[in-house]
């Protein structure tokens, strides 16, 4: 492991098209089409959820719109690797959806129904655990998952596993002391943890400049003697590649910090109104690099998709979203008696 890590910023394609001319290492065309489909499905659900909030059917939601390329690119790398465990955070809607939940399960969770796969309606949507898809997110307390993910990695090593742990968090979470503690411990024990910072340059209303003096979160990896990279989080393939490399490094040599530069398209949550604090036009400009659009463009350019297929995918995912909404809407909430279950484990 390099003792003096350098911060490497990967090429930033300013036009929004992915820079890869050929298939990225380890992927088939069908993988990309598959992930495009998951991306569109996630986006469709995300938009619908926001609307359902306005209709009073979903009490709260944090949107992943604008973060999806980072989430799905890293997820794709984890899936291809086959032995990764994920500690996402509350903004990782697309990640959690794409990891394998059905649209119905997603909607159940957002409406607080008994069918919620994460917590049986006890927690905020998609929070708790989805063990079948190797995901744990105990809370939405910012940065609380970081030390836990490091402990998980430690336990995997103790148990003889080769598992690599991916833990996700925002730029705001980097201010928490526990982020420092987690990275420090992971570095001392050279644990296979990839710290993925989805940097959208906001913690609710607080801009990055009020959170830190440094330009790049990735530069802080130097404090722990492990590598840190800043990548274009709007570019799914770049995120895939960076994560794939990071997984290899992590398994062999220890932690990596990946900073993925993303844009938050929506307000912080459905409870927030970002017009209070966001410069006009910022979101519009950011949407020019909407991963749903740019990824489709790339796949069409590469001949993996046609416009017709794109349209079909859009129609199909929308149908799933509609159906899921209807099914979840009429499904049962958890029974009141459940209140007292599982305070303790047997």
């Amino acid at each position: 492991m390099p003792r003096k890590p350098t911060t490497r910023t990967r090429a930033n394609s300013s036009n929004g098209a992915n820079s890869q001319a050929k298939l990225p290492k380890g992927l088939k065309a069908s993988d990309l089409v598959d992930y495009y489909t998951r991306l569109v499905q996630a986006r469709s659900l995300d938009e619908r959820i926001w609307m359902l909030n306005r209709l009073g059917k979903v009490p709260i939601a944090a949107s992943s719109q604008g973060h999806e390329a980072a989430q799905l690119g890293s997820l794709l790398a984890a899936e291809k690797d086959g032995d990764c465990f994920l500690f996402p955070y509350y903004r990782d809607l697309a990640l959690k959806v794409a990891a394998g939940l059905s649209p119905v399960q997603v909607m159940m969770s957002f409406m607080g129904k008994a069918g919620d796969p994460y917590s049986h309606g006890r927690q905020f949507p998609l929070q708790g655990a989805d063990l079948p898809h190797k995901i744990i997110q105990i809370s939405n307390v910012v940065a609380a998952g970081l030390t836990q993910s490091v402990g998980y990695a430690l336990a995997c090593r103790m148990a003889g596993d080769e598992t690599v742990v991916l833990v996700y968090f925002g730029d705001g979470a980097t201010s928490q002391g526990e982020t420092h503690e987690a990275m420090n411990f992971a570095s001392i024990h050279k644990l296979p943890v990839i710290f993925i910072c989805e940097n959208n340059r906001y913690a609710i209303s607080t801009p990055q400049s009020a959170q830190m003096v440094v330009e790049e979160v990735a530069s802080r990896a130097a404090s722990y003697g492990f590598p840190g990279f800043t990548v274009d989080g709007m570019d799914l393939i770049q995120c895939y590649e960076a994560t794939r490399e990071a997984i290899t490094h992590a398994r062999a040599q220890g932690p990596v910090l990946l900073e993925m530069m993303v844009k938050r398209f929506m307000s912080h949550t459905t409870d927030d109104d970002d017009r209070r604090y966001r410069p006009e036009g910022e979101v519009e400009r950011a949407r020019e690099r909407d991963p749903v659009i740019t990824f489709a463009r790339t796949l069409i350019e590469e001949g993996m998709l046609t416009q017709k297929m794109v349209d079909e995918i859009a129609a199909e995912t929308l149908r799933s979203t509609d159906e899921a909404t209807d099914v979840a809407d009429v499904s049962s909430p958890p029974d009141a008696s459940n209140l007292h279950d599982s305070v303790y484990s047997p």
Partner: protein, 327 residues
Amino acid sequence: MAVKSVIEAVREAIREEMERDSKVFVIGEDVGIRGGVFLATQGLAEEFGNNRVIDAPLAEASIMGIALGAAFRGMRPIPEVQFSDFVWPSVNQLIGEAARTCYGTNGAVPVPMVIRMPYGGGIRGGLFHSQNVETHFFHTPGLKVVAPCTPYDAKGLLKSAIRDNNPVVFLEHKKTYRLVRGEVPDEEYTLPIGKADVKRQGSNLTVVSYGLTLHYCLEAAEELAAEGVDVEVLDLRTLSPLDTATILESVKKTGRLAVVHEDNITGGVGAEVAALAAGQAFEYLDAPIARICGPDVPTMPFAQTLEDAYMPTSDKIAEGLRRLAAY
């Protein structure tokens, strides 16, 4: 007098005290341009500048420690914890340091600071946005703990808290913010910390509560009045120091005591109130002391059904009081 909401009363109190004393300042997450997530500090950054309304990085321990350090230098900081659920990363500074600063310096270093926290449930906040945290601070000598339930009390007590030379944990029940409205005098006033308030006079039994559930107790009392039971409703307002005199006086008068709170029953504030009466008003008690409190599960779940099942509602309270009256 104008009718205002709790959040308006809180905002007014902060604004007036900032105007009155340049040592008063606010620090917290999103308190500046955003005005706080509940808008308690809306407009203050514009009026007093970013030096007195400081948007802190997302790090509660530092917010608390920095406020504390500023208090050492004579400032009167008002750190805001965005939701009480997020106070935990900071409690070393609060329970460990702030509460013991005056004592640990034999009085040389007072700590004039008010830690504001929106707390409590009933707003679909789930496990991590509904927490009742009062007991932990109630059980910490060196802290004062205030938990008002009306705009009038909130404003008067917050102003007193800001002028107090001790760390005051100021608990604002989120659900009361916009729901509870009431008259607030136009002229300047403060209310004494440490004084409970009899919100309803009664002779048959005493209910002690605070925060959101106080309102539910008043509703329940009305129900029982219709059934011929005259309930006295006592609002603690300040949890620490506890107004033991007012509690004991009421219990001695009615001979029957119920304690109501949203927080988990075991080891909650209600246990202390019950123990107080069982120790110092024993001869006056005509019935077992009743506690109608949140169950011992980790706060309110997200689903409506589960949240409802958790909450001590006016119906549940009325039922408990009915049983107590009938004993």
